[in-house]
């Protein structure tokens, strides 16, 4: 006997069930494998074989490795900048693009800015090494013509993080812009017309109409990106770094990769993954409740 309320809500449950099934099978069942983080896991023994339980040993092993502290700091530093700029830049671009009247130019630009996203870091790495070379690279030639000393972007610990951040933004901003543009298109045009009548210039409109209209998406993406705080971008760093800049550029994932995890230390790798997940969970839950408390906004 179903209550009237349950009957009314039944369609919702039914809609969710297919997705739920997939999630349970493909995400929750493998999740049980997190226990590997607490084992001295040897692939050869098999997933269900007799693996030795070591409790928190894997975690302490990583924490006690020399330069772990430095690596963690690098990760947070690089990641935070990428996060903030990774949101700001597409937002600004979306707004600027929105101001373009000419549809053709607008469309072409929209298409071209998301091109770098498709090139892998393997390819881009090679290109950047040439571009940023202190002796032959274009960027430094430009600097030279402005009487600035050549900068060894990829080899100088002072500049390497900035190089990582800027090149990452450049590669990905086009893609993020798409999301924000989609948000902008759902803003009621009537609002703009009303503002024009009131005599507002473009800046006022952007501030009072466009941005608020995007607010939801901005907050959403911010919170979701927070969950990625410990992923500073393995692919990129891996293809751009070198022993010269380990100090400033080595991130959690490259560090973990290098200590031979592939072969011998699955338990440790899983432990680090688990650690990252916990941190993400804390950050996201925290911001979820903060957003709710202060902006009455539920992220999901």
């Amino acid at each position: 006997m179903m209550s009237a309320r349950t009957w009314r809500e039944l369609p919702f449950h039914l809609m969710i069930i297919p997705g739920l099934l997939f999630i349970v099978v493909f995400s929750y069942i493998p999740m049980a494998g997190i226990t590997i983080a607490f084992q001295k896991f040897i692939p050869a023994k098999g997933l269900f074989g007799q693996q030795k339980w070591v409790g928190w040993d894997n975690f302490s092993y990583v924490l006690e490795l020399p330069s772990f502290g430095q690596v963690l700091w690098n990760t947070l530093y690089i990641s935070s900048f990428k996060l903030v700029l990774g949101l700001l830049v597409p937002i600004i671009f979306a707004i600027l693009l929105n101001e373009l009247k000419n549809e053709i130019i607008k469309r072409s630009i929209q298409t071209t800015i998301y091109l770098p996203y498709f090139l892998s870091w393997v390819v881009l790495g090679g290109i950047l090494i040439d571009l940023l070379s202190p002796s032959g690279g274009i960027v430094n030639s430009l600097l030279k013509s402005l009487s600035i000393e050549p900068i060894f972007f990829l080899g100088d610990n002072k500049w390497f993080p900035a190089t990582l951040i800027v090149s990452d933004i450049w590669k990905n901003f086009g893609y993020g812009t798409i999301v924000f543009l989609a948000a902008i298109t759902s803003i009621d045009p009537g609002l703009y017309e009303a503002a024009t009548i009131d005599g507002a210039n473009r800046w006022k409109k952007a501030w009072h109409i466009t941005l608020p209209g995007m607010r939801m998406i901005i907050v959403l993406l911010s919170v979701l990106s927070l969950g990625q705080l410990l992923n500073a971008g393995f692919d990129q760093v891996f293809n751009l770094y070198s022993p010269q800049v380990y100090e400033s550029g080595d991130i959690l994932d490259t560090f973990v990769y290098r200590i031979g995890l592939l072969d011998a230390q699955y338990g440790v790798a899983t432990a680090v993954g688990f650690f990252k997940s916990i941190v993400s969970l804390v950050l996201i839950s925290g911001s979820y409740f903060l957003a709710y408390r202060f902006a009455k906004y539920r992220i999901f």
Binding site: A44, G126, P243, I259, L262, A264
Partner: protein, 599 residues
């Protein structure tokens, strides 16, 4: 993803140099093998006539139970021979990687062959009755991430194929968890004399590396350490232009480097050339530092024996400090690209191709790549290999890292554990044995890497050196017609180059290896002078190695590069102290324990 291999720091126990004695030995073996073949043929004939095989139960009805070593005693006399055929045919499963070379240069060219059905699979099936089934194939090399990951998930999911190619660490794990067959007796019984001969040419070490608790748990795919010999490759047209002589001592090398940097050897009026090329990885088969450092008696990354018979790690020795100082000076004077620290082999190859670098330390094959590239862009470019030199001109030791990193194990309970050994036998037979058809099975003109189509690829470690010696002998005798097999194929390439044709131009590299001025000639010389200094640790990584080796390596390379780029040389001492503290001492202890017990 990066092609990465866990280089087990493998010590190598002493390898006896064979020299001429080995050649005679080989001849004797060949006669023996010939005789055996006759006997085998006779036996096979007999068994075929006598109808179906006795206990050779190849019927698939036999399920995947955990049999013990039944396979050893199974089979009638025909099948029990090293090259005996299974009748009816059996199927063995295995896995493999598929490299770009095979995909593009071999399969792309041979129109009617696929990875599953090609000349090698056909030979194995027709002549041995062994059908090879690949459970999976991964694009990439044996050391690529994806191969490693795929192998690991396969191991973890309990889905082992019959024949399992693994690296040293995986081998140890498999042995420890009792998942693979003991191959000791099987090898004894089924390996053909040719196979045994070939696989033992590197001495005991490859087998030691695969032996656990006195049992041989896999067949090593022996990779020749000798091929890791280093030479100095120099732009000879630049030498000529600047009126310089080939180097006899390290200081000669330094003067050449200086001249290449400062005296505008490419004649374009700009100071845009470097004396010595090196990559951000510091070490390796091309543009690496091992050869240079050996000139200072510094042998990084390998384990060497000191006067008291103990093993020490080469990278922390004072000689390395001295070599680093020299390199630092070279960078200061602009002889080495200041940006080398961000450049991998591909990028430095670009510099070589555009005639910006005149000298580099590398292995014998460098002329094929990257040096050929410089010729592609400048017809007059010419390079030549020279022996490495020492400070005072005395014969230097040529360090050699232990190279056997791939092992072929057999799943415990496999129906025919000896099958893989037969594959080995057939492979060496068809390439270098009595019935060899080198042109077809190893390196036909149109698809040079055909041998990679076979799932197992054992090769005589000294085959390149052998080929050279044959060619050289024929050259001196003025009669090339006696050459056959690999030597013949190589000589044809040399002839092609000498003919001056455009096609020949592309194989200049071969002439630089096997020609009268070739790098292999120098290997020959190294061999005759007994210059090889082998890595003395040749076992699976020790426990502390597993935990710490990569961290220590990272620290080492980081410090070395920093010193080279200008940090005070005292940083080296700090590095040594850190190295010892962070696991190095522990590892040294473990290594010496192993060494003592294996002497």
């Amino acid at each position: 993803m990066k092609a990465y291999t866990i280089h087990s720091y493998i010590l190598h126990s002493y390898q006896k140099r064979m020299g001429e004695r080995e050649m005679n030995e080989k001849k004797r073996q060949k006669y023996y093998a010939k005789g055996m073949t006759v006997v085998m043929a006779a036996v096979m004939l007999l068994s075929a006539c006598s109808g179906n095989d006795g206990g050779n139960s190849t019927v698939p009805a036999k399920t995947n139970s955990s049999d013990t070593n039944e396979g050893v005693t199974v089979g009638n006399s025909g099948v029990a021979e090293p090259l005996g055929k299974y009748d009816p045919p059996i199927e063995v499963t295995t896995v493999r990687s598929l490299s770009d070379v095979v995909e593009n240069n071999v399969l792309g060219v041979l129109k009617d062959e696929t990875l599953e059905d090609n000349r090698w699979s056909r030979v194995y099936e027709e002549q041995l009755g062994i059908k090879i089934k690949y459970n999976w194939v991964v694009k990439g090399s044996d050391n690529s991430d994806q191969y490693l990951q795929k192998m690991n998930v396969t191991l973890a999911s309990g889905d082992l194929p019959d024949i399992i190619p693994v690296n040293a660490i995986q081998l140890k794990q498999l042995a420890d968890s009792d998942q693979i067959e003991d191959m000791t007796e099987l090898y004894e019984k089924y390996a053909s004399p040719l196979t045994k001969d070939i696989l033992s040419q590197e001495g005991k070490s490859p087998f030691d590396a695969a032996t656990f608790s006195g049992k041989l748990m896999a067949i090593p795919q022996v990779d020749p350490s000798i091929e890791r010999s280093m030479f100095i490759w120099i732009r000879t047209d630049w030498l000529d232009k600047l009126g310089l002589q080939p180097p006899k001592t390290i200081s000669d090398v330094l003067s050449i480097s200086k001249a290449f940097t400062e005296n505008d050897p490419d004649g374009n009026g700009q100071k845009d050339t470097y004396g010595l090329g090196m990559t951000k990885g510091l070490w390796g088969g091309a543009m690496g530092l091992e050869g240079f450092m050996a000139g200072y008696k510094a042998y990084p990354n390998i384990w060497i024996e000191n006067e008291s018979g103990q093993l020490e790690f080469g990278s922390i020795q004072p000689e390395v400090k001295k070599a680093l100082q020299v390199i630092q000076d070279m960078v200061k004077q602009g002889q080495i690209d200041k940006e080398f620290g961000t450049k991998d082999g591909g990028k430095v190859a670009e510099q070589i191709a555009s005639s910006k670098i005149g000298m580099e330390y590398g292995e014998q094959w460098n002329s094929i790549w990257p040096l050929q590239l410089s010729k592609d862009n400048n017809k007059n470019a010419s390079w030549r290999a020279f022996p490495i030199v020492s400070e005072n001109g005395e014969t230097p030791k040529v360090p050699q890292k232990f190279s056997t990193t791939k092992f072929i194990a057999v799943r415990k309970g496999a129906e025919h554990p000896e099958a893989v050994i037969k594959l080995f036998n057939m492979h060496v037979e068809k390439n270098w044995g009595e019935t060899a058809e080198f042109d077809k099975y190893y390196a036909p003109k149109e698809a040079e890497s055909v041998w990679q189509l076979s799932p197992v690829t054992p090769a005589p470690p000294k085959k390149n050196l052998e080929a050279f010696r044959q060619i050289d002998a024929a050259r001196k005798a003025g009669d090339m017609s006696t050459l056959k097999g690999e030597a013949k194929t190589i000589q044809e390439k040399i002839d092609l180059y000498n003919s001056g044709s455009e096609e020949g131009f592309a194989v200049w590299g071969w002439e630089r290896i096997y020609g009268p001025e070739g790098s292999m000639g120098i290997t020959d010389q190294y061999d005759k002078n007994n210059q090889f200094l082998l890595d003395k640790f040749v076992s699976a990584p020790t426990p502390t190695m597993v935990e710490r080796k990569s961290t220590l390596e990272k620290m080492q390379n980081e410090v070395f590069i920093k010193i080279i780029l200008g940090q005070p040389i005292e940083e080296f001492d700090k590095f040594v102290a850190d190295w010892k503290k962070l696991g190095g001492d522990q590892i040294t202890q473990e290594v010496n324990d192993w060494y003592a017990s294996n002497k």
